[in-house]
Structure formats: structure tokens, C-alpha cells
Amino acid sequence: MSKGSFLSASIGRKFLMSITGLFLVTFIIVHLTLNLFLIFDDSGDLFNLAAHFMATNPLIKIMEPVLAIGFGVHILWSIIITVQNMRARPVGYNKTSQSVNSTWASRNMFILGGLIFVFLGIHLYAFWWKMKFAGDPLLTHTTVMQGGVPVEMENAYNLVATMFKQSLFYSITHILGGVLLGLHITHGFWSAFQTIGLNNHLWRKRLFVLANIIGWIFAIGFSIIPLYFMIKF
């Protein structure tokens, strides 16, 4: 059997989901850490420095397409898997009581993922697209001291902070996005380990707890940012 047949086998497909999923989790951890600079430094310098670093560092530049591929594969494969799984039960049940045997998030990963995808579109349009390509009047330039040297850079902080202060829509979508992502992770994180076989009856409980911790951190961490700007300003 070739490598191809591995990726088309049910376990192989899920292996890809897990690997990309875990990769995305590491990205999100970095992303969240940097974003939390938004609420720890009201001058915005810290965040702007981080954003500038991310925009100019060659390694990050290489990682950007890799990340895009990660997202792409994760999304594409989720569609393939979901279609495949739905086909496995052509006639459904009249009555089901699934809530007694599984969590809502675990049963609705595709829906959660879909909503997160929608959020991602809004999020990318609001920030990444503007910073990277379209530009925006809010993206004024600012000078920040870096290692004792003044460096001129885009004031990303201004864009983000203003958006959250002024637009209820963006704030709420970002709070929702954080919560949805958190829910997605509460199942996705331990599930990924299960799928790649790194689990047993002992580690299962630990991974499950860890998944919930990470999920909650993501949910709180991402929603606290818009909340901070909404409440404080």
C-alpha cells in the first residue's frame, strides 16, 4: 500500500486533522500571547513591537504560508471527513438522546469549525487584510524605541483598539469567536492525541483536563481583549 492509501484511510485522514489541529493550537498559543499585549500596555508600544516583529521576521514569513496550508488542510479534510461520516448513516433516527453519552462540542466539531471559519473571515478582513494589503486610515505610523533605537512602524494597536472601542459588531464577533474556539479545543485537543495513538486510560484523563484548561484559556483570553476595550473605554 502506498502513502496515498494511508491518507485516504479513515484513520489516515483523521491523522492529518490531528496533526494540523495541534499545529494550529501552537500557532494560536503564540497568537494569543502576543495579542494579550493589547491589554497589558495601553500605550500600544508593546503590541506594535510584536506586530512589527511578526511582520518582518523571515522565519515568520516562511511560517505564514505553512500556517495557511495548515488551515486549508484542516478545513478541507474536515469537509471530506464530515461528508464521509454523514454518508455512513443514510437513514437517521427519529429520536436520539445523545446528550447522555457525549458532550455537545464533541458531536458538533464541524459546526463549531464552520462558525470559527466564518469568524476567521471577519477577523482576517478586519485586521490582517488591512495591515497586509488594503491599508486603513486607522493604521497611522508610530515610532517605537527598540533596543534604544527609534523605529518607525504601523500603529496596529490603534487599528485594533479603535475597532473594538467603536464597533460593537467586531467586539461581539471576536468574543464569540474566542468562545467557539475554546469549545472546539475542549474536544479537539485531547481528541488529536487520541487519534495519533498517544493516549491510554491513564493519560486520557490528564489530556481531557488539559484540553479543558487550554479551551478555557483560549475562550477567556480572546474574549477578554474586546471586553477590555469595551469596558475600559
Partner: protein, 253 residues
């Protein structure tokens, strides 16, 4: 052991005369059922009534009626083997139901388990998976003494945990993806834990998973529902072992 008698209950059940014909739900009344009766005894009584009324009785699979043969199925009130834990339908008792209740009974639903008649489904797909590798390739005779290879207590126990699968199909019926992973994992894991089965573990994992996919079962998304509805409580940790065995087998190619 004095049990209350349910004066009247309603049974909403899937009727389908054959694989080719269309099915529908029918609702029947059943009277005077002791709560000490088993669920299948209740169906026996309903069938007795239907036969006397000149109607076709409800076909359902059952055999040992002590929770071990795996023949009985039934999706009762939205759950495989009904509203109780660690049992099969034949061990379900009417104590779990109330006066006047409407009980919905459906067959296992999965593309790989087509309906044969009423509540009976065809589980031949499970046979095919087992035939693809659920064995140790030894012939009868010429075997060393049973104690020749010591097997640790914990390994034997874990193998036994997995081996307790009765092949009823509740995992597939429960899984939102109709996945047979728990069923396959039980066999693969049992034999992978034993030195006798270890020898061809890779081949087994590969062949059984390939067959499972071929037969149209869905993939596992780790909801864990199968474990909770499994009458023998087989742990999804065995699925993790199956995943591991399969990945290792694939890497070794």
C-alpha cells in the same frame, strides 16, 4: 421483588416488511406489564397480542437473553440498548419505564447495517471485518504448553477487557458517524496485548481497518458515546491503541 404492574404503555415501533420495502412507524398499546418483566418479554406480549389480532408480529433479533450473545439490538428512546448502563436490550427491565409512557423503538441505523425486517438489521459487515484479520494464525495442534509464555496479570486483564466485546453493534448504532472503531479496536487491542497475537499485530490492524473503511462505516471523531453505550463498557483507550497499531503498521510499510 414485588414489582408494580404498568397498566398501559405505548410502543412506537419501526415496521418495515423487507429490505426493499419502505418502512414506517406504528404505535401500539400494551397493557398490564409487570415492571419485573424484561423489555423483550414486553415485546413478546405485544407480539402475542398482534398474532391473536391477525397482524404480523414485530421481528426483532434476540437469542441468549442474558446479555452475552450480542444478538439483540434495538435503539430505544434514542439510545442503543435503551435507558440503562452496561446492559444489552435483553437485560433491560420495565422498571426503567413509567405508566402511560410512549417508548420509541428503532432498528440500528447505519449504512453498513441495512434493515432486513422491522427491527432486524444485517450485521454481516462485522463478520467481514473479523474475517479480515481478527485471529491468530495458528492451526489446531502442535501447540506449546499454555504456561510456556508467561503473560503478566495486567496485560491479561487488559486483553480480557477488550475481549469482552459481544459484537452487538451498539457502538456503530450510537456513534453519530456510524463508526465501527470500537468494535475493531476491541479485537486489535486484545490480540496486541498478548504475545500470541503480537506476532501479526501489524498485518491485523492494517487489514481490519482497510476492511472497515471499505464496508462504509464512518470515521471516529472521539465523542466517546460508544464507550458509554457499550454493554460491556469497552474503553475508547483501545481505540487509541488501534490508532497507534495502525500508524505503526503503516510506517513500517
Amino acid at each position: 421483588m414485588a414489582d408494580i404492574t404498568l397498566k398501559k404503555i405505548y410502543v412506537k415501533v419501526w415496521r418495515q416488511n423487507s429490505a426493499k420495502e419502505k418502512g414506517r412507524f406504528e404505535t401500539y398499546e400494551v397493557e398490564n406489564i409487570s415492571q419485573g418483566s424484561s423489555f423483550l418479554e414486553m415485546l413478546d406480549i405485544l407480539n402475542d397480542k398482534l398474532i391473536r389480532e391477525g397482524k404480523d408480529p414485530i421481528a426483532f433479533d434476540h437469542d441468549c437473553r442474558e446479555g452475552i450473545c450480542g444478538m439483540c439490538s434495538l435503539y430505544i428512546n434514542g439510545r442503543a440498548h435503551g435507558p440503562d448502563r452496561d446492559i444489552t436490550t435483553c437485560q433491560l427491565h420495565m422498571r426503567k419505564f413509567n405508566e402511560g409512557e410512549t417508548i420509541t423503538i428503532e432498528p440500528w441505523r447505519a449504512g453498513a447495517f441495512p434493515v432486513i425486517k422491522d427491527l432486524i438489521v444485517d450485521r454481516t459487515a462485522f463478520e467481514k471485518i473479523q474475517q479480515a484479520g481478527g485471529f491468530v494464525s495458528v492451526n489446531t495442534g502442535g501447540i506449546p504448553d499454555g504456561n510456556a509464555i508467561p503473560i503478566g496479570y495486567d496485560d491479561a486483564e487488559e486483553a480480557m477487557d477488550a475481549a469482552s466485546c459481544i459484537g452487538c453493534g451498539a457502538c456503530v448504532a450510537t456513534c453519530k458517524n456510524s463508526s465501527a472503531m470500537l468494535f475493531v479496536a476491541a479485537k486489535v487491542s486484545q490480540l496486541a496485548k498478548l504475545p500470541q497475537g503480537k506476532v501479526e499485530a501489524k498485518r491485523r490492524a492494517r487489514n481490519m481497518v482497510t476492511k472497515m473503511d471499505e464496508l462504509g462505516f464512518g470515521g471516529c471523531t472521539n465523542t466517546g458515546a460508544c464507550e458509554l453505550e457499550c454493554p460491556k463498557g469497552i474503553s475508547i483507550s483501545h481505540i487509541a491503541r488501534l490508532n497507534r497499531e495502525y500508524l505503526v503498521a503503516k510506517l513500517a510499510e
